[in-house]
């Protein structure tokens, strides 16, 4: 049994670039279970927040991320799906097997597992295809399989459906719900309000790099606390 890395407590974490504060300072907790949706207008800091939690941003002095296990150990228990899926110049199968092979698993075992994951996301027919010729929806599913193959405890997704058509989005969401039911903690950003309504258990509403609201989904959609969230849900442009 692997040690649980959650809950994650975030203390005063702030990301600055060239003297400008992109996100934070944020103090919050990421609970052990749930499917959280990060919402907010473009440029609010959704991507940076997810990258911050995933440990990909340099946190300004004074802030920190506290996982339940030491940082290096926690890193192997996280997955990340980027907005624009990064396709390695290899076959689809090699793409999915890569995280296992790089962390020391025997090639044949890794390939078998990758095959199983490809089947699971519906790409069994594309295993030997080059990843770069896959369609947008297929790429995103491939990226999902690759992020999940090491069975992370928490999965971050940064607007994974932003460039997908309706059908691909539906399939992707179905997969996410399945994975969540199997116990993976999910934190996903989107600016599609419909998608947030379909998936969210709780919503983090971000504006100007601050978490303005962190409430259960029903509360957020029925009675948003902040003016900004109300305006956002009504479809107004907020600055």
């Amino acid at each position: 049994m692997v040690d649980a890395i959650l809950p994650l407590s975030v203390e005063n974490a702030q990301v600055r670039r060239r003297g400008k504060v992109l996100v934070g300072p944020i103090t919050t907790t990421v609970s052990e279970t749930g499917l959280s949706i990060v919402m907010g207008p473009n440029g609010a800091g959704k991507t940076t927040l997810l990258r911050l939690l995933h440990g990909m941003e340099r946190i300004a002095p004074g802030g920190q991320l506290n996982w339940q296990v030491p940082e290096p150990k926690a890193r192997g228990q996280q997955g990340f799906v980027f907005q624009a899926p990064i396709m390695m110049r290899r076959s689809a199968l090699e793409n999915v097997a890569y995280p296992l092979i790089i962390h020391g698993m025997a090639r044949s075992v890794a390939r078998d597992r990758a095959k199983a994951w490809l089947a699971r996301v519906g790409l069994q027919g594309s295993a030997e295809k080059r990843a770069t010729v896959l369609s947008g929806g297929e790429r995103q599913k491939l990226a999902l399989a690759r992020a999940l193959i090491r069975q992370p405890q928490i999965l971050f997704l940064d607007e994974p459906c932003a460039n997908l058509d309706g059908r691909a989005t539906r399939e992707f969401e179905a997969l996410l719900l399945e994975i969540h039911q199997e116990g993976t903690r999910i934190v996903m950003s989107t600016h599609d309000i419909g998608q947030a309504r379909r998936l969210a258990q709780d919503v983090w509403f971000i504006h100007h790099g601050q978490i303005l609201e962190k409430t259960p989904a029903e509360t957020f959609f029925e009675h948003p606390e902040s003016m900004e969230a109300r305006a956002f849900l009504q479809g107004d442009i907020i600055e």
Binding site: M56, G76, F82, I86, M88, R89, Y98, I102, H103, R130
Partner: protein
Amino acid sequence: MNDILAGLIHAAHLIFTLDADLIEISVRSLRVTLSAVVVSSLIGLPLGCWLAVQRFRFRRLVIATLNALMGLPPVVVGLIVYLLLSRSGPFGVFGLLFTPTAMIIAQVVILTPLIASISHQAIRDLWAEYHDLLISLNTTRRQRILTLLWDGRRALLTASLAGFGRGIGEVGAIMIVGGNIDHATRVLTTAISLETGKGNFSLALALGFVLIGLAVAVNLIIHSLSRTEVSGRW
């Protein structure tokens, strides 16, 4: 015009009669340059990759220097290698001057910056693409470099072939350190230079055509072996 035609005919004659001298110097040309390309690639490809991945204080300066060294004058390299390898030089005891090994050493000095610089440019673009993924997957620097070298192998092949192109046609450095000694260090380029000096234009041209043919053949063989340009894009 007549000279060129005569050269072509002479070249055909030399090739079809399997002229022993021609084969000897052609094989030596290939051996020297291919050895130099292999050694330079072993140094230059990982170096270029490392420069793309690693951030350090004088990185820009190092890359700028490397780019400048691409234009290193072969004659000067030859001269310096000559001084290093000559009897009175620091490596004189090895007795390498006027041997094919000395020619390989000189060519390695010329080719390594070229190969490193071209591979750095190719890998830099690939690294920009892979950066977030490889960071997210918690890879070590060594794993990143190996991954980039493997996935960028086609671009790196181009770097090595560019090195081969520069090496096979190079004359200044190998002339100085090799000495153009018959049956010892004479290669195609130095032979052309010698025959031209003697006014033996048709033989010089014949050797020139053989040299060009050789360069084209090596490129084609390597491309077909590595199956580049077979599938649409990669």
